[in-house]
Symmetry: C3
């Protein structure tokens, strides 16, 4: 129940980050809604399609659609005041990152997939909404260039299976996994750590 509530709050936070990017690109209301939508549920949708869980998740639970609609209205109306909320939004986004990773890993486990694939699905759930957002906005995805974002999910996913292997209870696994993702993200943003880029001389 708490978990589901965090999931919806994470969806809301992801959608707002989508609205912000769409407004920078001067989109119209329809474009803003679609960008918010794919940012929020794009990663989970891709995951569901690849493992064959269809109709995809948001089609069977309108709360996601409502959370995204609310986020769009909220973000458009308060667009000049969102800067003051930057810290809260970042926090929600980061919590969402942790929760989405766990959800993705769990879907992989239900589909009987190998832990490595489950970790990939967790990372995809949490970070590929942003990839689709950037592609629709005609940008190279920011998480491919420098942001340590997906890396936090990868480490979180690995933590999940390490703890599971150690025989921890599910609740504790969830808490430690989310804490790992959230801590990494907080640390890298606080200290402005980026992955190095690699190029051919």
């Amino acid at each position: 129940m708490l978990f589901y509530a965090i999931d919806i709050i994470g969806t809301f936070a992801f959608a707002i980050s989508g609205v912000l990017v769409a407004m920078q690109k001067r989109m119209d209301p329809f474009g803003i809604f679609i960008i918010a939508f794919v940012t929020a549920v794009g990663g989970g949708t891709l995951r569901d399609v690849l493992i064959g869980r269809t109709p995809v998740g948001w089609m069977n639970d309108l709360n996601y659609v409502h959370a995204i609609g609310l986020a769009v209205v909220f973000a458009v109306i308060f667009r000049k005041k969102l800067n003051r909320l930057r810290k809260s939004l970042f926090l929600f986004d980061t919590i969402g990152l942790g929760v989405f990773t766990i959800i993705g890993v769990e879907k992989g486990i239900s589909a009987d997939l190998h832990p490595i694939i489950c970790i990939a699905l967790g990372t995809m759930s949490a970070s590929f909404g942003g990839v689709i957002r950037d592609i629709l906005c005609n940008e190279i995805p920011v998480i491919f260039r420098k942001e340590i974002y997906a890396t936090a999910c990868l480490v979180g996913g690995a933590t999940f299976f390490a703890l599971k292997y150690l025989g921890l209870e599910e609740d504790l696994i969830y808490i430690f996994t989310a804490a790992m993702v959230i801590s990494i993200r907080l640390v890298v943003v606080k200290f402005k750590i980026q992955l190095p880029t690699i190029y051919q001389a």
Copy 2:
């Protein structure tokens, strides 16, 4: 039967609009065919994948492939004369928009989905081929920026369920839904109405 014929004519018209964009980008024949293809059936393909109706539609009915192939040959050969046909093409495209919306809504209903999701599927069927076309052409999708295109489908989809709720016969629902989509589109193009863009000051 008439419905199916209009579906194929709409596919043809959508494919031609794809060819025109691909030629502007100076693509080769293979690229032109692929852009025509995704413009024509990309929206319906995305819909089928998301609801799990696979193999996707065009794989089971070669008439779509034939209509697109014909459209490509036609548009390439008469590329210098297409301007004169602009009005007819626009009309076919607009009729296609109405029909594709209805088809998408119906697929959602067969999959037992909520009316809001069905309306989303109708809009996706009719307008996301153009989104995929624009992404493959390295542009921000035009319907996210200003074109009132998807909005016509959204209103059409809502009309569909309003009339269904009122207990109208299926045939009448189809006619009024298509008429709604087509009228909105004709009016906005005639009077050059655009959605406002929203940005952060």
Copy 3:
């Protein structure tokens, strides 16, 4: 067995071509891995999703993941020496093109699809990983503009069904199909043949 080995080698070669493009775009290690991944398995993944074979192929066979991981490590470490390997890499890539085409055609046949759709699936398997790579790198896909790449797969797919119609044994069909794809690709690269671009005057 040999076929499977070639499949894995082709995956390795495709992944390296992805790494090279990602490094040109100055991506970070995560971005490089993802681009390598989609270049190598993106075409087959799209095919599996469209025909409904889920979970998609690479989720059930970790050898693909390993081959891609190895390719990334190899290509990043030896990035300054890859020019010397250009010919070997091109050869592997070309052999992969032939094998991936055959795999795609066969998946279409197992799904009971029409030969034309099977040829499309073969072409998609072999050449759409590069399309997704280019989109993620914010480029118009190179195979839509000039490269004769997909065309080789199309001709290869047609060869497959022509030989099948003539009643040849499966092994021979495979050999001749791959040989056709590989020969066309070698000839067009050797003589720098490109498809003409078409545009509206």
